[in-house]
């Protein structure tokens, strides 16, 4: 990190290594002059938007980037203000953050933890970003969160659903607005019990990496609590494209429900394959065979096409929500870009606003001050109803949407319909819940 703690001793040694007698020491800016990493000194403040621009999640990343650009526009007083008027906190004035004009830099995570860190580092070291946000997978979120903790900047997670992000890998400088695996399971289970009964035999196909594990565990434990039985849980490689050999044996196992703990391309392919095998036309144990996708996104639904019809899943937010915040955001985004925003776009927009508001309330860009302002912050009007940023793990607690693939979509964006809005209480868990155990927030880091 470029602008970090240089103790006097370190300073001398650094000078020696960097080339003794290179220059008169006084023109080295002593970085301890800054109170914290990348303290904005001029009239502007720089945010770092780190989203996947290449690789399979590039479209999701592009939507995140649109949301960020919109948020920046609104923060600087442009456009219709989006959710700023509906936001319960009225600190933001439309004159930037703390009067400083908001600028931004972008980077490409490539959905690889290494590349994401490299890109985040360059934003911190080169461009002086004060906050990093974005991303479309939990691996990236966890990796970048740890980096931001080290560097002493705030990380506002984008789309990351694994329990670990605010569980065993949580960090004091990192905050997540998006919901998680546990919440998906907790929100889905009652709806599933309602729709499909409490006597079901479930077969899990799980993406063989961290997010898959936590999602499988969450859905398993909450459906088993409802009385379901888990027949089998099979791990599938991340690089798998044809899932036929995993789906074919499902019926033989006597299962009557298939849970696809897959995301992105994996989910599109496994769902397409499952529907192809005609699983949904079958009757097992005297019941119609059902498929469930714990985490839905609109882009995935689009990729799977007609196959999503009637399939349950959960999502963080959907543009068809009718509260004032959502409506304002959809109007603002839709007017600018011509189509409704995705849940990834929503969470990224909200995270940016929440960060700006926290700075405003704290009266400082210092990460520890911002963190303090965010911890335990309760707000409303950002599309998910009343929301709490819990201090213990920096996770937002809010309503979770249970959705279903729409039977008769009117447009290519109208693919999901909301079945139920599960209230926040039902998806709230204790900070020391076993699915989130291990790891500690640590203390916030201001960096230099």
């Amino acid at each position: 990190m470029s602008k970090t703690d240089v103790t006097r001793r370190g300073m001398l040694k650094t000078g020696a290594v960097a080339g003794a007698g290179l220059a008169v020491p006084t023109i080295f800016t002593a970085q301890s002059a800054h109170a914290f990493t990348n303290e904005p000194t001029g009239g502007t403040v720089t945010l770092g938007f780190n989203v996947p621009q290449t690789g399979p999640y590039a479209d999701e990343g592009a939507d995140e980037l649109r949301a960020y650009q919109l948020a920046v526009e609104h923060l600087n007083g442009g456009g219709d203000g989006g959710m700023m008027p509906t936001f319960s906190s009225k600190e933001l004035q439309g004159n930037g953050i703390l009067g400083k004009k908001v600028e931004y830099v972008t980077g490409d995570t490539q959905t690889k933890s290494d590349a994401a860190r490299a890109s985040a580092k360059s934003m911190i070291e080169k461009d002086g970003a004060i906050m990093i946000t974005g991303g479309s997978s939990s691996g990236v979120a966890v990796a970048v969160q740890a980096l931001c903790q080290e560097a002493g900047v705030i990380f506002m997670a984008g789309l990351t659903h694994s329990n670990d992000t605010t569980g065993k890998d949580k960090r004091a400088n990192g905050f997540r607005h998006f919901f998680n695996s546990y919440m998906s399971g907790a929100a889905l289970a009652p709806v599933l019990a309602n729709a499909y009964g409490t006597d079901r035999k479930a077969y899990h196909l799980t993406a063989d990496y961290n997010w898959g594990y936590t999602t499988e565990e969450a859905v398993k434990s909450s459906t088993e609590a409802m009385g379901w039985e888990t027949v089998a849980a099979v791990k599938t490689p991340l690089t798998q494209t044809d899932f036929s050999s995993y789906i074919a044996p499902v019926l033989q196992s006597g299962a009557d429900t298939l849970v696809l703990n897959h995301y992105g391309g994996n989910m599109v392919n496994s769902l397409t394959n499952a529907v192809q095998f005609g699983l949904r036309d079958k009757q097992v144990n005297g019941k119609d065979f059902q498929i469930i996708v714990p985490l839905y996104s609109r882009l995935m639904a689009k990729g799977a096409g007609a196959n999503v019809k009637g399939i349950f899943g959960s999502t963080n937010w959907h543009w068809s929500l009718q509260d004032e915040g959502s409506k304002a955001f959809v109007r603002s985004f839709g007017t600018k870009y011509g189509f409704p925003p995705s849940q990834a776009a929503h969470t990224c927009y909200v995270q940016t606003l929440l960060y700006a508001d926290a700075v405003q309330r704290a009266g400082s860009f210092a990460p520890c001050a911002v963190a303090e302002a965010l911890e335990g912050f309760e707000f409303d009007g950002l599309g998910n109803g009343k929301t709490l940023y819990r201090a213990d793990d920096h996770q937002c607690f809010k309503d979770v949407l249970v959705v279903k693939g729409k039977e008769n979509p009117t447009s290519e964006f109208d693919l999901l319909e909301i079945v139920e809005v599960t209230p926040a209480d039902q998806v709230t868990y204790a900070p020391d819940h076993p699915q989130f155990s291990g790891g500690a927030l640590g203390t916030c880091n201001n960096g230099a």
Partner: protein, 343 residues
């Protein structure tokens, strides 16, 4: 037992895709001696021929429907495909429904053209260059092709379903006297297998029974001698490149209902298809086909949960494990010739 039959079916189906890609790769390698890393991209372009045709067929004009609202509260714009206007709604829908099979016809000229342009424009300058240069330039080409597709079609997969008539699955179990639902297999995958068999058979017959094929086979064995006979082998090789591109492209077209096509599907298959070719033996067409099916079946067995329970992670590595074992026990793959690609 039923589980095993099912996985053999799966293996044959996966194997058909592997075999088709490996077949084209081997044709190119065997005839031209070029290691073509852009071959996966040809498969991808084939798939996007299907996407493009279905886009053409669904070209629409919009009419305003006042009874419905769009997401911003404005009157809904309903898209009406031109084929509805031309052929009427029922026929129009049927045409759209049959977009993928129709794409086969659409893809053949396009893929041959792509292949010929690629060979004449780029590959032919690399016949005498080291394999490393061929790999690098075709790898660069593969990146360029996939990024161009991404630019026009986005990174998200695009659903391209099979005609309704082929939806659902056939119950082999019932036909063989097992309990129903035990061995079911989707109609489209059965078609894919049959299609692969026809194409593979066609390529072999073409090489075996036509004069053109005989010259090409002679050229594969000894390029210089055939050239000395005054036969214009170069032109024939160009055509072979076109044929190989068409084989890969058609495999891609037919693959679209199985997995929604996306811009990186070629890269996903690239490493695998090279493993198939090498396991089969560089330059051996029967070897490529055999290895394709073999690896498909082994991969299917390795993904059975009974197997994964015994050896965790075996489904992740089976292909590579097989490649290592075969290359160590059979130095030139299953059916490879001596001296090919060993320097």
């Amino acid at each position: 037992m039923d589980a095993i039959i099912l996985q053999i079916l799966n293996g044959l189906d996966k194997g058909s895709a592997y075999a088709l890609i490996a077949l084209g790769l081997t044709l190119i390698f065997g005839t031209l001696g070029v290691v073509n890393f852009a071959h996966g991209a040809l498969f991808m372009i084939g798939a996007f021929c299907a996407v493009t045709l279905s886009r053409i067929l669904t070209l629409s004009h919009t009419i305003i429907d006042d009874t419905q609202k769009d997401f911003l509260g404005n009157p809904l714009k309903v898209e009406v495909p031109y084929v509805h206007d031309i052929f009427g709604v029922a026929t129009g829908d049927a045409i759209i429904d049959w977009a993928v099979p129709l794409s086969l016809l659409f893809a053949i000229p396009i893929m041959i053209a792509v292949g010929v342009i690629m060979e004449r424009g780029l590959i032919k300058h690399f016949y005498k260059r080291p394999h490393a240069d061929q790999i690098l330039v075709t790898f660069g080409l593969a990146i360029v092709l996939q990024e161009v597709i991404k630019y026009f079609y986005g990174a998200n997969p695009i659903p391209t379903p099979a005609p309704d008539a082929f939806k659902g699955s056939f119950d082999f179990g019932a036909a063989l006297g097992f309990d129903p639902n035990l061995i079911i297999y989707p109609y489209w995958r059965i078609i894919y297998f049959g299609f692969a068999a026809v194409i593979i058979g066609g390529v072999f017959a073409f090489l075996q029974f036509t004069t053109f094929g005989m010259v090409v086979r002679a050229g594969m064995a000894d390029r210089e001698t055939v050239g000395l006979l005054g036969i214009n082998i170069d032109r024939r090789f160009t055509i072979m490149f076109g044929v190989a591109a068409a084989v890969a492209g058609l495999a891609g077209v037919m693959y679209t209902p199985i997995n929604s096509p996306n811009y990186h599907m070629g890269m996903d298959f690239l490493v695998l298809s090279f493993v198939v070719v090498v396991v089969g033996g560089m330059g051996s067409l029967p070897g490529a086909v055999l290895a394709g099916f073999l690896l498909g079946i082994l991969e299917s067995f390795a993904s059975m949960r009974e197997v994964i329970d015994i050896i965790p992670g075996i489904n992740q590595v089976i292909i590579y494990l097989v490649a290592i074992v075969i290359l160590l026990t059979r130095p030139r793959g299953l059916m490879g010739r001596k001296g090919v690609m060993e320097d």
